[in-house]
Subunit: 362 residues, 2 copies
């Protein structure tokens, strides 16, 4: 028995960097889990789960991060009235060496796993692949998961917390959190959405209209305390490529939302885009700047980490799309590609960004 | 202008773990790069590029690994008479923390990059995703790249080389190497194949008929010097799931080829499969056992690392498929999911495996 399938040919490829899904998949449900500092920030009331402390019942930061992934995935499935066995694939990764938070985060769900790595842009990469698999008919449901933890990230990339290293203004603060996004085709989504959402938000669903995939962009930045500067060129290139591929102006989007450039990186991004003839000064926002109150929370340039863009998308932007306050956003998680080894060997810190077009539809 | 595309629905999903591509993509070309010890092994004469030493002109092991990726990608493109700009996507990753060899390996090619992590199963994961993207019409060409390096891996996971730590018989030897695989649709492949291959091998092309995706399998192994035992349960589960999804017996395949179980892992795998009623004792081979002469090269249980299965596939199995000596193989790269941190914190070493069906067609 050989199943017949038409190959769709090259039609979905748009320009050099992008895919547009004609029958676009939907983000059916999502969830966000954060630590205590995030809960104390401006978005604190919006997250689904807040830890009593940042250990999440575990005895290491790494296990705490895995625990957050389990909580996020479990809650997203619960919201969508689906089981792990309904998920055809999980696309998931994190910041730690060998993606350890994810290995122990996803293992008990027994969902076929494609491990991904895009540094802090991982949410964009995993959403892109989940959307592509659903749009191609390879999956009825695919789930994208990512996480980061301040404790495990500092230990991995910087100094022991006890060392109390001083941080420059350009430094960002790794978000402790995790988010999961269930991507599905429209048919299933309609019903689920109607069941799960409250009366105000039944009317709109969030579809992934297309994706733009990033290349490694290396401006030779070597300052591991200035990730915003390392990532801004990659974000700029992604945005310019995206607008070119889709034939759009920046103003087409209600918001162009980067992941974790912070206030220092935002300035660089807006300047770089201007040099390319693209004005994003009016509609650019950055998840890292949304997450914390920089003045009172002592978080430097802003939040960062895989969980930064992921939890802010789930808790802040998706509800605004569902409610109709926003019609369409270009979501651009950003990643700084460094490791402790590459940094110690004097390598630069290249950046990458992945773009996902999110649209509210009736 | 909105491009019209039919969505193919769920037809390509086969069973719970697998996809079968009705119009299957092809491995158009591939290349392999290895170090000196690999060149001294039984397959030494088959690899495309052999380093004069294991530094590949660089001053660190990590940069040497990136250099091998560049060599592998450049040579595969050359063989296929294609440019980097002809590649719609690169799916690539490695063993190092934050996939550093890949970041600096792929950056200058400026191909949209999806970073992947599957430990030593990465070749299976990247080939799976490249095939899925080509089969869906998302890409005309996608390239899968991976690498490992004995020096960078020992430094990352075990002890300084100078420490001269003793190794148990169950330990494997990380392969220094890299391989790249250009996946494309049939149409392009026909012409390219005819141009590139010599007269003996024009007749057969290698298609990726389908894929089976692995889950994390954790038997609680905590011995970082016995990766074969950690990965064998994942390989067993992958093979059993694959045969169930495709409705096949193990004997359907000329070879079932795991990545780097080594001789210790092979015994465990054959026993585990037998317990599930599957006999692979006659047609199982392991790339790790092919790579080195265990007796004379002091490599313990066999070769390992992302490059092990990747270079052996490129240099040994693909030519056998092209020549018609083999008709079909189930290629199952295997990965041990550990990090230095997880190991030091006493975590177990779960395994994963990804299956790719390779078929020789006229």
């Amino acid at each position: 028995m050989r199943l017949r399938v038409r190959r769709v040919g090259m039609q979905q490829k748009l320009g050099k960097w992008s895919l547009r899904f004609t029958e676009a998949p939907f983000i059916l449900e999502s969830s966000s889990v954060v630590g205590t500092k995030e809960a104390d920030g401006p978005l604190g009331g919006l997250f689904d789960i807040v830890g009593k402390d940042d250990r999440f019942g575990q005895n290491t930061w790494e296990k705490a991060e895995s625990s957050m992934q389990r909580d996020a995935l479990t809650m997203a499935l619960g919201k969508a009235h689906l089981d792990a066995s309904d998920m055809d694939y999980v696309f998931a990764g994190d910041l730690l060496g060998q993606s350890m938070a994810t290995t122990f985060g996803v293992e008990n769900f027994r969902i076929p796993w494609f491990g991904v790595y895009g540094a802090c842009s991982t949410c964009g990469e995993s959403l892109s692949l989940a959307a592509a698999f659903v749009a191609a008919g390879y999956a009825r449901h695919a789930v994208a998961v990512t996480s980061s933890h301040f404790g495990s990230a500092e230990k991995q990339f910087r100094f022991p917390n006890q060392y109390a290293n001083q941080r420059p203004v350009s430094a960002t603060w790794t978000v402790t959190g995790s988010a999961a996004f269930i991507v599905g085709s429209g048919a299933g989504g309609n019903e689920i959405q109607a069941v799960c959402d409250n009366a105000d938000s039944i009317s709109r669903k969030v579809q992934i209209e297309g994706i733009t995939t990033g290349v490694v962009v290396d401006y030779g930045i070597k300052d591991a305390m200035n990730m915003g500067a390392a990532m801004a060129p990659a974000a700029c290139e992604l945005i310019v490529n995206h607008l070119s591929d889709f034939g759009r102006k920046a103003s087409y989007y209600d918001r162009i939302v980067t992941g974790d450039l912070g206030s220092v990186g935002q300035k660089i991004l807006i300047d770089l885009c201007r040099q390319k003839g693209v004005d994003i000064s009016k509609n650019h926002e950055d998840c890292g700047m949304k997450m914390f109150d920089a003045t009172n929370q002592n978080t430097g340039s802003g939040g960062s980490g895989c969980a930064c863009s992921a939890t802010v998308l789930s808790a802040y932007y998706l509800p605004k799309l569902r409610s109709g306050e926003l019609k369409r956003i270009l979501f651009v998680p950003t990643g700084a590609l460094l490791s402790p080894v590459s940094f110690n060997e004097g390598e630069s810190v290249p950046g990458i960004a992945h773009g996902v077009v999110l649209e509210a539809v009736i």
